[in-house]
């Protein structure tokens, strides 16, 4: 049994080492599609947002990467406050099963 597992592990390891070479030999692919936001019907923050998308995907990405965790944490903490207010213990878990 042990020998079989070792052989299986060696096969997987060989595959792991060989796979990148096979994949990189294939190279990249797919034609890039350019998308442009239509800002004519937009105003205020929405127009600013769509303009930022059209002007620089890099700035748009940076802002996205900042906003997503921030908003997640804000609303998550809000849910925490509500559950804590109800009286749920949010610091420990009694169940210790496999």
């Amino acid at each position: 049994m042990n020998a079989k597992i070792k052989a299986l592990f060696a096969t997987v390891l060989t595959f792991v080492l060989m796979a990148p070479a096979m994949a990189f030999a294939a190279g990249g692919g797919g034609a890039p599609i350019v998308m442009v936001a239509d800002t004519r019907k937009l105003s205020g923050i929405m127009a600013w947002w769509a303009n930022l998308y059209n002007e620089s995907h890099l700035y748009f990405t940076i802002l996205t990467i900042i906003l997503i965790p921030l908003i997640g944490v804000i609303f998550g903490v809000l849910a925490d406050i509500i559950m804590h207010f109800i009286g749920i213990d949010l610091k420990s878990r009694d169940l210790a099963e496999h």
Binding site: V12, A23, M46, I88
Partner: protein, 351 residues
């Protein structure tokens, strides 16, 4: 009722925003409970709301990163996240995913890849389902045997014990994973994460659906730690994925933010629900979710082979997934409320 619709600035379509919040809550609860992103549930949901497919994946990944982050924080406080294991697996996951994604482009050039991918996916889901329910059945048999022998039921007993055989492989460096309670070769989590990442790259999914059971059955994590650690992986890889898709212009951030409002709160409910549901209870509901996902893919495949029923199959698959999301989210929420009620009552009784 115009106020119930919002114009998406990038995609240029009007979307029913309460639908986005409801979808967010549903996948948030399920994601926080099972430790997965849930792309297979979100995409048909966004599709039904009238979302263009070009933006569906990017938007899904962006909201997934945010909700997984808050779930990881919650699971971390419960002691469900093995950060050391998570960091070790991160390398394998990213490398595996990139190799898988490159490989799929190579396969695309060779020929018809869609069908192959769907059949692999279906086979994999069937295997996961078999694994989960075999494990549950064997554990139950062990419990019954212990009761029949008049012994106490072992809370840490497991059905499938493949991880025990894998832990016997002592290729250095060896690592102690204290939260998961594992001592094994570092190559084990690296190989498992590379394999699950590679599969995720080939199948075009986040990977939580594969990684969570792999953490349990191959690495040997307790269910709660598997859920928490997988969410840590999803949060990091989700942020990477969100950056990548957004840079390619494929994320509708307004929709992602609206979904995130529901998902962040739902994820907290799902994560807290793991306090009240036993490890094997989580595995059982997870098995049902995998069956639902499998049936929806089977329906899509039927549509490919019999084009005349393709539309009907698509509709059935979409409603099946949405029904499953609603049902499971409701079940988890009810269990969480019942558990919380019991906890509060016990606290009052003690005081």
């Amino acid at each position: 009722m115009e106020w119930l619709y919002i114009l998406m600035p990038i995609a240029g379509v009007k979307i029913f925003w309460p639908g986005l919040i409801i979808l967010g809550i549903g996948v948030g609860v399920i994601g926080g409970f099972f430790g997965m992103g849930g792309a297979w549930m979100v995409t048909p949901g966004l599709n039904i709301l009238g979302f263009p497919m070009a933006f569906a994946i990017g938007t899904d990944i962006a909201h997934m990163a945010g909700k997984s982050l808050i779930s990881t924080m919650r699971h971390g406080k419960f002691g469900n996240v093995d950060y050391k294991l998570g960091f070790i697996m991160l390398f394998g996951t990213i490398a595996g995913f990139e190799v898988g994604a490159q490989m799929i482009m190579w396969l695309e050039r060779i020929g018809k890849v869609d069908m192959v991918v769907r059949w692999i996916y279906l086979g994999l889901l069937a295997f996961i389902t078999w694994m989960v329910f075999t494990d549950i059945a064997r554990r139950k048999a062990k419990d019954n045997a212990a009761i029949a022998a008049g012994k106490e039921v072992d809370k840490n007993a497991t059905g499938l014990e493949w991880h025990k055989a894998l832990h016997k492989i002592k290729i250095p460096p060896m690592v102690h994973l204290n939260v998961a309670g594992i001592y094994c070769s570092a190559w084990l989590p690296i190989a498992v994460s590379f394999f699950t990442g590679w599969l995720a790259g080939i199948l075009g999914i986040g990977g939580g659906l594969i990684r969570m059971p792999s953490l349990i059955y191959l690495v040997g994590c307790p269910t709660h730690v598997a859920v928490g650690t997988d969410l840590f992986e999803v949060a990091i890889s989700g942020l990477y994925g969100a950056a990548s898709y957004t840079y390619k212009g494929r994320t509708e951030l307004v929709a992602a933010i609206i979904m995130l409002i529901g998902a962040a709160m739902g994820a907290q409910v799902g994560a807290v629900a793991t306090k009240y549901i036993k490890g094997y209870g989580i595995r059982y509901v997870f098995g049902l979710a995998v069956i639902g996902c499998g049936i929806s893919i089977l329906l899509k495949l039927m549509g490919v082979y019999v084009p005349s029923i393709a539309e009907v199959c698509d509709i059935i698959a979409t409603y099946l997934i949405l029904g499953l999301v609603s049902g499971m989210a409701l079940y988890i929420t009810v269990k969480m409320v019942q558990g919380a009620k019991q906890e509060i009552a016990m606290k009052k009784a003690r005081a």
